[in-house]
């Protein structure tokens, strides 16, 4: 076995170890790499910046703990922006493991941003039924959510004054770990005419570009990087900005291993066997 063959047969536990070391290192000792912003995130920021009539933003927290590192920084940065501009934020969830995450974000907003529950912010909790919930919110918010997550009658909350239906929202920002984003676009956006924006896990972000390009969503944040960009735009770098160095090194580790694999494949015995086989097949033709 020559060196090239060895390169293509590294035990996966060495790859795991390399990944663990190179991702941990910047978490412990940040490198301070510069984060730049992209137009998709900037356009969401500008949209919220230009909301003037203080109509509420619907913050749809449709994700659970498994994707929280990507999406919670977005939720916090957008809430910071909205609260600083006096725009009310009403949270809802169409994913069942979201309330636990949202509850912590709402407590954070109370303590860190000084937002008053029921006046500046409200969290209505989880509702089963996805599409039907969105449509019912279009008929009346309290028809889908008679009570908020904390047991108050939704209609009694000060924040709900003049905010009867989903159609009265200034923006629906879906923070999504699943395909629920498409439903917000389809029903809240295209059917009811409410502006919609997306904060997506990186896995689903590439699919959302089609809706951004067609103008069906007003902005798009993708993955932890999207959250980091919004944190920078609101001038409050947090966990996402902090994670960007580790993100960079993690990607480099993967690319290096892909290069190793390809070098081993093309220069090692196995790869040469394959190319010999290919040339033999070519001769036969």
């Amino acid at each position: 076995m020559n060196i090239w063959d060895k390169l293509s047969s590294i035990d996966r536990r060495w790859i795991f170890l390399a990944m663990a070391i190179f991702v941990s290192w910047p978490v412990l000792k940040p490198l301070g790499l510069p984060v730049t912003t992209t137009k998709e995130v900037e356009s969401l920021y500008s949209f919220i910046e230009e909301i003037e009539d203080k109509k509420p933003i619907i913050l749809a927290l449709d994700y659970g703990p498994s994707t929280a590192p990507e999406l919670t920084p977005m939720a916090k940065a957008v809430m910071r922006h909205a609260v600083s501009k006096g725009i009310p934020v009403v949270g809802v969830s169409l994913a069942p493991d979201a309330p636990g995450v949202a509850n912590d974000i709402w407590k954070w907003a109370e303590e860190e941003l000084g937002a008053i529950p029921g006046e500046d912010i409200a969290y209505l909790g989880y509702k089963a039924g996805t599409t039907n919930v969105i449509l019912q919110m279009g008929q009346g918010i309290s028809k889908a959510f008679p009570k908020d997550y904390y047991g108050n009658n939704t209609d009694d909350l000060e924040i709900m004054e003049g905010f009867e239906s989903l159609k009265d929202a200034s923006l629906v920002l879906g923070l999504e770990a699943t395909a629920i984003m498409d439903l917000w676009i389809q029903y809240a956006g295209d059917q009811m005419g409410v502006p919609v924006a997306g904060g997506m896990t990186a896995v689903s972000a590439p699919e959302a570009y089609v809706f951004y390009q067609s103008g069906q969503i007003v902005g798009l944040m993708g993955g932890m990087k999207g959250g980091a960009e919004y944190e920078l735009l609101v001038g409050a770098p947090g966990n996402a900005v902090q994670g960007m160095d580790a993100q960079s090194l993690g990607h480099i580790v993967i690319i290096v291993f892909i290069i190793f694999g390809n070098l081993g494949f093309f220069l090692g015995k196995k790869g040469q066997d394959v190319s010999r086989l290919k040339s033999l097949r070519g001769d036969q033709k």
Binding site: R12, I15, F16, M19, A20, V23, L33, P34, T36, G64, P65, S66, T67, A68, P96, D97, P99, G100, V101, N103, Y123, K127, A128, G129, T130, N132, V133, L135, Q136, Q139, K143, K147, D148, Y149, Y150, G151, N152, Q191, P206, E207, Y209, V210, Q213, G222, K225, M244, D245, Q247, S248, L249, G250, I254, I255, F257, I258, F260, G261, N262, F265, F266
Partner: protein, 222 residues
């Protein structure tokens, strides 16, 4: 009866919901109320579907325990933890709100969060291992995939700008700009074709369900 009744119900409810879309519901009270009621029914029905799922899970694990399966200790873990968390959530909630149940939130933060988040973070390791093993520039298609993946991986994180600067790649030729272009143009074009395909498929399936051609939701039994 066992087939005709469900097919008729799907036909009537489906047709009504499609019809209600085209009606000014605010002006036609009966359409508005029926529309809201059907929405509300589905919201509630989704809960029973979850109960069906959890019930099936518990029965499956109870059977494993009954059969003295070698891993039945883990089935105990599933059953006991389900019942314990459900007990705390259902019976330790005072008043009208689970939002005020601090024990429930504590369980969520210290059990659900680490278990769920770590389970998915394992994929960081496996995606690295899989990429190392499977990503080979064997032909043009695979090479395109590989190059696009590498550029997006580097161009979308801060190190992309640093590498570009050190190689004096600026403007449209910097790695972040190329990554952005890949996402905006070829990615959008291909994903759009897929989205259009999904749209056509969804519409066709919905029509087939309403007209009783697609009946797989009824299961295989008679």
């Amino acid at each position: 009866m066992k087939t005709k009744l469900p097919v008729t119900i799907a036909f009537l409810t489906g047709l009504f919901m499609a019809f209600a879309y085209f009606v000014e519901r605010d002006n036609v009270a009966w359409v508005r109320i029926l529309y809201e009621e059907l929405n509300q029914n589905n919201i509630v029905l989704a809960v029973f579907v979850l109960f069906l799922g959890v019930g099936t899970l518990l029965i499956r694990h109870a059977k494993k325990i009954r059969d003295k399966n070698s891993d039945s200790i883990y089935s105990w873990v599933v059953i006991v933890s389900t019942l314990a968390v459900a007990y705390i959530g259902l019976f330790q909630t005072t008043g009208e709100s689970i939002g005020a149940n601090e024990n429930f939130q504590w369980i969520f933060n210290n059990f659900q969060v680490p278990l769920s988040a770590t389970m998915f973070s394992l994929l960081a390791f496996f995606v690295a291992s899989a990429a190392y093993r499977a990503f080979r520039a064997r032909n043009t298609e695979a090479t395109l995939l590989l190059i696009a993946a590498a550029i997006v991986m580097i161009g979308r994180v801060p190190i992309g700008s640093v590498i570009s600067d050190s190689l004096s790649l600026t403007g449209s030729f910097s790695l972040p700009a190329i990554a952005e272009w890949i996402l905006d143009i070829p990615n959008t074009a291909a994903k759009r074709a897929i989205t259009i395909g999904i749209g056509l498929g969804m519409t066709a399936t919905a029509i087939k369900i309403i007209f009783g051609i697609e009946r797989t939701y009824m299961g295989s039994g008679k």
